[in-house]
């Protein structure tokens, strides 16, 4: 197997993270916000895998497994909250969830 330069993998991770950030900032629908957070978590995981492969150690993969567990817990609670919000206001508008204002 040919070695891939670590910088290529890190550039890809940075680009994917930026794309997830763009999705999180520009979309108003809550489902797209949660999805963009998942894209960002995957990009960070890719950076960890690249770093672990650089030194041929298992630590990068261990960190990715922890990120995976954290993403699963966050998605479950986030989607449960999303369904409650949808039940209350019948729309998934992130800007309409402002009852705490004032």
């Amino acid at each position: 197997m040919v070695q891939i330069p670590s910088s290529y993998g890190l550039i890809l991770a940075a680009t994917l993270f930026g794309l997830g950030l763009i999705g999180l900032l520009t979309r108003r629908n809550l489902i797209f916000s949660l999805m963009s957070i998942e894209i960002m978590l995957n990009a960070a995981g890719l950076a960890f895998i690249v770093a672990g492969a650089r030194w041929a150690q298992a630590d990068g993969q261990v960190m990715f497994i922890f990120i995976l567990a954290m993403a699963a817990a966050e998605v479950s609670v986030g989607l449960a909250l999303l369904m409650r919000i949808h039940r209350e206001q019948q729309s998934l508008d992130g800007d309409a969830v402002s009852k705490l204002r004032g």
Partner: protein
């Protein structure tokens, strides 16, 4: 090497399409494609165990969970019309440019500090297991705490019996 380039291109294109679709289901399908491409990239970097985990857990459980919720919420044609209204160029141009600047900075920092190639060894499940249940044992226990907390939280938030949270 060509495997990495092709998979990286697919991942980037699929992610761009995922964040720009009007329908949530289309977005999620492109997200699945992006995650599968990332799994191939993990394998190309000599991490077959997390490549399998990415497909099984991320693409196979988390995104499927998303799709279930989207199907439950039953977004119809009026939702796509609202999405089109919300996605005017005046909305996405500013944050997109700023985030692209940040991504460029991040990539520059990543490139300028690492000029090394990855080692040719493949780090398989055995090494990952020895690391997880050796030095990182407390992380495994904490992850189980976190998943239990997520379970209890999701159960309480999803209850339909009472109206109080």
């Amino acid at each position: 090497m060509a495997i990495f380039y092709i998979a990286a291109a697919v991942a980037l294109i699929a992610t761009v399409l995922a964040i720009t679709r009007l329908s949530a289901v289309h977005s999620l399908l492109y997200l699945v494609v992006s995650l599968l491409a990332l799994a191939i990239i993990f394998y190309a970097f000599g991490a077959p165990f997390v490549a399998a985990l990415e497909v099984i857990i991320y693409a196979g459980a988390i995104v499927v969970f998303f799709i279930f919720v989207v199907m439950l919420l039953n977004q119809g044609a009026e939702t796509m019309h609202i999405e089109r209204l919300w996605l005017r160029p005046g909305v996405w141009a500013g944050p997109a440019i700023l985030a692209a600047v940040l991504a460029g900075e991040l990539a520059y920092v990543a490139v300028s500090s690492s000029t090394a190639r990855s080692e040719a060894a493949m780090v398989g499940p055995r090494e990952v297991g020895l690391a997880l249940y050796g030095p990182y044992l407390i992380g495994v226990e904490l992850a189980s705490f976190l998943l239990m907390a997520g379970l209890v939280g999701a159960y309480h938030l999803g209850r339909r019996g009472t109206e109080k949270l």
